[in-house]
């Protein structure tokens, strides 16, 4: 994805210079998060952040960190099951927000006779299928096209840690090292630490390894990289320190 990172800092309501917006002969302009369209011709930011453009896809959006996760279709999230009703589970995606629904048949290999048994407090890795402002969000734990879970479904064991939304986005970039300046996980792996993780776009990361101490250390390393805004060199040093402790 060839995107030009402009360092244009924008605030809500700013008037954007039309020259800063990309143009394309055939594709319509795609508006990403942080922007709104006021007909007929005005595009204005709604949050404080950096304006980014992608000439190839003719897209423009605002990059920002912070705040509360707003469910968006296609995102992968870590949700907590709260209760169940006929044919559906209710799961919490972010604290105090309305609960999302997760059909009991949206799991790999689930039929009317063999439903997954998930109790209160169980964690699942799910994809958001429906999210619009008028309805409660909907999730699924299976890929619609293949019928396989593709990594989604219940998460057993391990521990879940809170991270900022910006960190979750960095972890889920196609190339975290180049695009997100994130080397901590690669370095830990390089130091021989064995672990598995699942990253939820709603600001949660699930970590599992073969020792309690290891899981705590890895989770805290990710949180420290996030809270202290560690640069690449500092992340390398942290990874070495963590690997020594385990």
């Amino acid at each position: 994805m060839a995107s030009t990172r402009t360092s244009t800092f924008v605030l809500p309501g700013d008037r954007l210079d039309p020259a800063s917006l990309p143009s394309h002969p055939t594709l319509p302009l795609k508006l990403g998060p942080g922007l709104r369209h006021i007909p007929p011709n005005t595009i204005t930011p709604t949050v404080a952040g950096q304006l980014c453009t992608d000439k190839r896809k003719n897209a423009v959006w605002v990059e920002f960190n912070g705040g509360r996760y707003i469910p968006t279709t296609g995102d992968l999230v870590i949700a907590t099951i709260q209760n169940s009703a006929v044919d559906i589970f209710y799961a919490s995606v972010s604290d105090y927000a309305p609960k999302a629904t997760l059909p009991q048949l949206s799991f790999e290999g689930a039929t009317k006779k063999t439903r997954p048994q998930l109790s209160f407090g169980a964690l699942v890795y799910a994809r958001v299928t429906h999210a619009n402002k008028h309805m409660d969000p909907e999730l699924e734990c299976v890929s619609q096209s293949t019928g396989k879970s593709e990594g989604l479904g219940p998460l057993t064991g391990g521990m879940v840690f809170d991270i900022s939304l910006g960190m979750a986005r960095r972890l889920m970039l196609p190339k975290p090292v180049e695009q997100g300046a994130l080397v901590i996980l690669d370095e830990l792996g390089g130091q021989g630490v064995a672990f598995e993780i699942a990253v939820g776009r709603n600001g949660k990361v699930w970590v599992n390894s073969n020792s309690v101490k290891g899981t705590i250390a890895i989770g805290r390393a990710i949180q420290e990289t996030d809270e202290k805004a560690l640069k690449i060199e500092e992340q390398r040093k942290l990874a070495k320190k963590v690997a020594r402790e385990i």
């Binding site: 604290d95 105090y96 109790s119 064991g157 521990m159 309690v212 899981t215 705590i216 805290r220």
Partner: protein, 297 residues
């Protein structure tokens, strides 16, 4: 109203496994407190306490009022602790929730009933005019252990506060403004700080209950009992509150009292040090202001 969020099964099970291996989620020892930070405001009687991510702001104010008819020689001292949506979205201001009621009861027992603040010293004219001292405790951020942090913040703010100087002739009381006469500190008899212990079921059979100090919010949500001990640095107990929860061996509990005493001594020294630093800063600031005033003249 949005309900309180509960920890997931994974967090609960992981926490138990960690306890079994003598580990805490943030790497502390079981009896280790988080870093304590205390700062004061520009005005007298404003204290800001940070204990990890828990943050408490206390404001002391005083006004002249009439005493209760059945206690003509005593001033008034009230402590209010209102949890607001700033602490957590599910706290409503109109309806006090259980943790809020517990917090205000414990602070009341610990600080008011123990006469930490000498209410007789607040009397101006018996039966007619007394000082009413008010402590407003604002919980800005909740990451566990609100009781200990609130107690430190109220006591630190009380020690920091200065009430206006007064003189009385017969029935009349003159209250001097800050410019006319320097304000005077409150009369505090002793400093009973609180230490809260969290209890968890033993991880081995027939083993001892696990005890943690200074629990974070997650640790509080997963605990099965707690006890708060209010004690001053001279070893005088003011209150013990263990409201139900799992049982603790009596000898272990006495051990907790000893731990509380040691901790309270540390806290007392720390608070006194911070107060001294603040006093020195004020003196220097006042001196500079005076010198500047001299130049203006």
């Amino acid at each position: 109203m949005p309900r309180e969020v509960e920890p997931s099964v994974n967090e609960r099970q992981f926490f138990e496994k960690a306890l079994a291996e003598n580990l805490r989620l943030d790497g502390r020892a079981f009896d280790q407190f988080r870093d304590l930070e205390l700062s004061f405001g520009d005005e007298f009687g404003v204290a800001d306490v940070r204990l990890g991510k828990t943050r408490i702001h206390t404001n002391i104010s005083a006004e002249v009022t009439t005493p209760y008819p059945d206690k003509p020689f005593d001033g008034l001292f009230t402590i209010t602790t209102e949890l607001s949506p700033m602490t957590s979205p599910h706290y409503e201001t109109s309806r006090p929730s259980d943790p809020e009621i517990l917090l205000s009861r414990i602070l009341e027992k610990n600080l008011r009933r123990s006469q930490a603040l000498d209410t007789e010293s607040l009397c101006l004219i018996a039966g007619h005019k007394v000082w009413s001292v008010r402590a407003d405790v604002h919980i800005l951020s909740h990451d566990g252990n609100l009781i200990d942090a609130s107690c430190i913040s109220v006591l630190a703010a009380l020690q920091h506060f200065r009430k206006p100087d007064t003189s009385s002739e017969g029935e009349n009381v003159t209250v001097y403004t800050l410019e006319e006469r320097d304000p005077v500190p409150l009369s505090l008899l002793h400093f009973p700080y609180c230490v809260t212990f969290s209890f968890y079921p033993s991880t081995v059979e027939e083993g001892e209950t696990v005890i943690l100090l200074d629990s974070t919010l997650l640790e509080e949500q997963l605990r099965e009992g707690s006890a708060t001990i209010g004690i001053n640095k001279d070893g005088e107990l003011c209150q013990i509150a263990k409201l139900g929860g799992i049982s603790v061996d009596a000898v272990a509990f006495l051990g907790c009292v000893q731990v509380a005493l040691a901790r309270v001594k540390e806290i007392s020294t720390f608070v006194i040090k911070r107060l001294a630093e603040d006093a020195k800063k004020r003196d220097k600031g006042d001196l500079m202001a005076e010198l500047r005033a001299e130049n203006d003249r």
